[in-house]
Subunit: 330 residues, 2 copies
């Protein structure tokens, strides 16, 4: 599946900046959990985290155009950039998602920019784990800066906060999602607010609204999230966005928060791996699937209740997980 | 926690249409998974499913007003109605969510209408399991008809298809979510399309768009989803919506699809129970939580990789699940 070469060889090729090796490993990581487990275990000693900037917002606010400009600025600073675009609402992975990538064509031929898009593949814990692994591979590959772009926030199970150091929430006056439609928890998460399409009517009102809502937040953080105006189409305001990112990085480091954030991310990632393994046992075309169908039929006929059925299934899963662990150790 | 009375007594009171018993049981079901397990096991023999109508759509399309009208029509037919409003994006449960309920005040004093709102409480599998149980309790309580209202569709982990027999997707010309923003999988799921605010500009265009997209779907179903025009504010089109629901119910029964759908729902529900039990072991303030923090620190220091850490955790979870099962049997 992964083609010729042991894991060690593949790691060596990735460290040598072999784009084809990276592409192949990433695809296999997504599709083959067993490979992911073995490969990431071997890759980990070579991994060092790079700055990770998360960009999120509703569809149509101009995230991709913004990312395009950020990449250009980072390229002017001779930085190698990795981009992972995660769309938890799309079942598609790999190539283009939703046509957004078309706008990125001008950076797509630059060998120092590596772009990858990721769809949900049906599993949300799986999506978080896959994204973390892809970012890790790109960091070993030698990017200096990671951009992680995602649709929405806190509503899809995939949480950009689990991957990025700093998260910018992009809003636009005409996206129809004013601050009033934001749900509890969303406002608290962003470290930077980027009001895009700032030349359109309603931009100033939106900014006032954000600032007043930020003032109302229960837990005032020591970091005061900047509210920036920009026009991604013209490229204005983009350098302030990048500056704010680096200011936030410095803030996290100064206050000893970078390590704490990172530890929470790792804890969540470990949790996702455990959850995906259980999920896989329940959804794959395994013997458990057949058992589940049988159990459902019994519940439907009134011979069993859902909780007793779950108990039977848990017994089987315990055995499978134990078998996998034993197999792993030998 | 649940107050005086054994499970058997509570079930008897619910079957006797004791509203206070229902309210108390539902709150406890949400907050106490152990109670849920014991109570639902005992309730199951008394349960019989009632017609369940799911209403979904983006925020602001007028779902609540529509539900309000549906309730009125069902009340004219002397039907007792249960409503569960699920908002996976809100952390709030119980009382009002997002002010929507205010519009339902005119039905809230009717003893034959039971309304309950449910927020995410952080767990999506948990939300589906909780909703299924609440619907079950209301059906034992004696409602003739269940309305399940939820925000969004297929993007939040909570899937209305797991609970409802028939799902109506509500759209509005000015909600900004034209058909083009709908993701793969969303269009396929709805059994009925309700274009609300049909007097506003763009309504006819939206209808044309839906019909043409429905024609393009890969898998033409035998059921041809109707595309209905309505104005929830004025109440027009609401009876057609209810008629379409009953037509779809008849269609499912005629084609032997009702039982198959229901079996799939039960299978998913069993899966959610299993997943929530594992999730609880990972997120609760248990010894596993402490272990997870320790493991994350080791990964951060480079002494361990995420997959080996997950392996350690799985070993501990196997033991806990086994202990729970043994405890259950004795």
């Amino acid at each position: 599946m992964i083609g010729p070469g042991s894991h060690e060889e593949l790691i060596a090729r990735i460290r040598n900046r072999d784009v084809r090796a990276v592409a192949r490993v990433i695809s296999t990581l997504e599709n083959n959990p067993r490979f992911a487990r073995e490969f990431i275990t071997k890759l980990s000693p070579f991994h060092q985290k790079k700055p990770r900037f998360g960009i999120t917002g509703s569809p149509g606010v101009g995230k991709s155009t913004l990312v395009n400009h950020l990449v250009r600025q980072l390229r002017e600073q001779e930085k190698r950039v990795g981009i992972v675009a995660v769309d938890p609402t799309s079942p598609f992975s790999g190539g283009a998602i939703l046509g957004d990538r078309i706008r990125m064509l001008d950076v797509q031929n630059d060998p120092n920019v590596y772009i990858r898009s990721l769809g949900s593949r049906g599993s949300l814990g799986g999506l978080s784990a896959a994204t973390a692994n892809i970012v890790r591979v790109l960091e070993v590959f030698g990017v200096d800066f990671m951009l992680i772009e995602t649709v929405g926030m806190g509503q899809t199970g995939f949480d950009i906060v689990d991957i990025a150091d700093t998260v910018a929430l992009v809003l636009s006056p005409e996206s129809g999602d004013g601050v009033q439609t934001m749900k509890a928890g969303v406002m608290e998460v962003a470290d930077i607010y980027a009001v895009n399409k700032a030349d359109r009517p309603g931009a100033d009102g939106l900014i006032t609204e954000i600032i007043s809502l930020l003032g109302m937040l229960d837990s005032p953080k020591e970091w005061k999230p900047p509210v920036l105006k920009m026009s991604a189409l013209e490229g204005s305001g983009v350098s302030q966005l990048l500056d704010s990112f680096f200011e936030h990085q410095a803030f996290l480091a100064e206050h000893g928060l970078a390590a704490t954030r990172r530890r929470h991310q790792i804890a969540r990632e470990i949790r996702f791996i455990v959850e995906s393994r259980v999920e896989r046992l329940l959804t794959g075309e395994t013997k458990h699937k057949a058992t589940l169908d049988d159990l459902a039929e019994k519940v439907q006929r009134g011979e069993l209740d859902t909780y007793s059925a779950a108990g039977v299934l848990i017994g089987m899963i315990i055995n499978s997980l134990r078998d996998e662990e034993i197999h792993e150790e030998t």
